[in-house]
Symmetry: C2
Subunit: 214 residues, 2 copies
DNA sequence: GACGAACTACCTTTCAGTCGGTAGGCAACC
DNA sequence: GGTTGCCTACCGACTGAAAGGTAGTTCGTC
């Protein structure tokens, strides 16, 4: 029965990491954000590392549930990949990066348990996509020349990279451009003048938004 | 006439950012790394932000030179993309992420001038790749259904993402898997049993390497 | 009365940045 | 040819703020 405060801490800490990075936020920031004293955070998470590990775990579990739901909701391989990509798109619209990506960039100062958690996150996603693609390839949903294991890696990389980049550049529109290219690399037919999916070239303009550090 | 010390500062600061992130290193770290006193760094870069901006500028210029060299060295569109990807591959083998990617993850605490520099870096690369792909498509080197602007975004995203991820996971082998998938998305012919390029599925195993923080 | 969850008060270390000063180089001027 | 003045490069010593973390206490609830 996880306490209400603990959940609030996790939720807000996640936002902080996803917008500023792991080294870029402090217990003081977090305390102020949820209206509690700094010392009280230590009651729930004795060290920042404990909090970091809990964050990766919670984030990973949430994604695991999402992947299961995607598989349940659609049997079509391409739609599954599309739904998977939509998870990242949400990050763009909410102006929040990927938690594990943020941690991965600080690899050099990342405590081992967090490092392991981050690696496992990526591995699970690659494995899942590999399975989805293999299935889709078997029943002809995606091109035969797609190597599931390779393409899975490429898709995760492209989505992580696009989320990272498009928060600064074209926003959702830019992200969808990457998605459109990704779609073409999977789809069976050399496309007839398909009407689905948007095509507009993104404005590619830095959208500045002030976000003062208190 | 940029002093020797200034160059050393830039070189070492770059390494620190690329392994720990921008918020993850301090003037003290940097001072110790090049054997100088902390106060002396302020002589060359009055504030950390000044250093950050200089880093992005130097990094960007180095890449600009590399792009020009790639264009000079080969006229083949696919080979150009391949050479571009090799730049990222070096990051993997040297266990260093991308400087601007590291900065982009800390968007929420990034001073505006740095943010602008990072955005411009990505924009230049996308523009360059768009041009290269458009040319390649025109002379039949890459598939006709490739939309240069979209594919360019996807390529940068995939390479940034792969560099981020594969430092933790499969290393160079994992990176090359993504590359192989990328290649297939561009190449003209539904591939005959091509012998080029490696195919091995990467071990996908976290390679831990201790890197104590002094 | 034991326990969970929060608090006040404090600790040490590190952070970016400041200050005044030193040592050497270089050129002008008398 | 010595002195004066200014420059770059660096230093030791320092500052106030912020970092992560600790100790001991209070308060409400089973």
């Amino acid at each position: 029965m996880p306490s209400d405060t603990r959940d609030k801490l996790l939720a807000h800490a996640e936002i902080l990491v996803r917008t500023r990075g792991y080294a870029g936020f402090s217990y003081a920031d977090l305390a102020e954000a949820i209206g509690i004293r700094k010392a009280s955070i230590h009651h729930h998470f004795p060290t920042k590392e404990d909090l970091g590990v809990a964050l990766v775990e919670a984030y990973g579990r949430r994604y695991d549930r999402a992947l299961a739901e995607i598989e349940r909701a659609s049997a079509d391989g391409l739609k599954r990949v599309e739904a998977y990509a939509a998870l990242y798109l949400h990050g763009v619209t909410e102006e929040q990066g990927c938690l594990v990506a943020a941690m991965a960039t600080e690899l050099g100062i990342l405590p081992e348990p967090m490092r392991r958690g981050v690696a496992e996150f990526f591995e699970r996603h690659i494995a899942w996509l590999t399975r989805v693609l293999a299935e889709a390839r078997a029943n002809g949903t995606v091109r035969k020349d797609v190597t599931p294991a390779h393409h899975a890696r490429m898709i995760v990389a492209a989505l992580e990279g696009a989320l990272l980049m498009e928060r600064l550049l074209g926003g959702a529109a830019g992200f969808r451009d990457t998605l459109s290219a990704l779609r073409k690399s999977l789809r069976q037919t050399p496309p007839s003048p398909l009407p689905s999916g948007r095509t507009r070239t993104a404005p590619t303009q830095a959208r500045r938004r002030e976000r003062a550090r208190s």
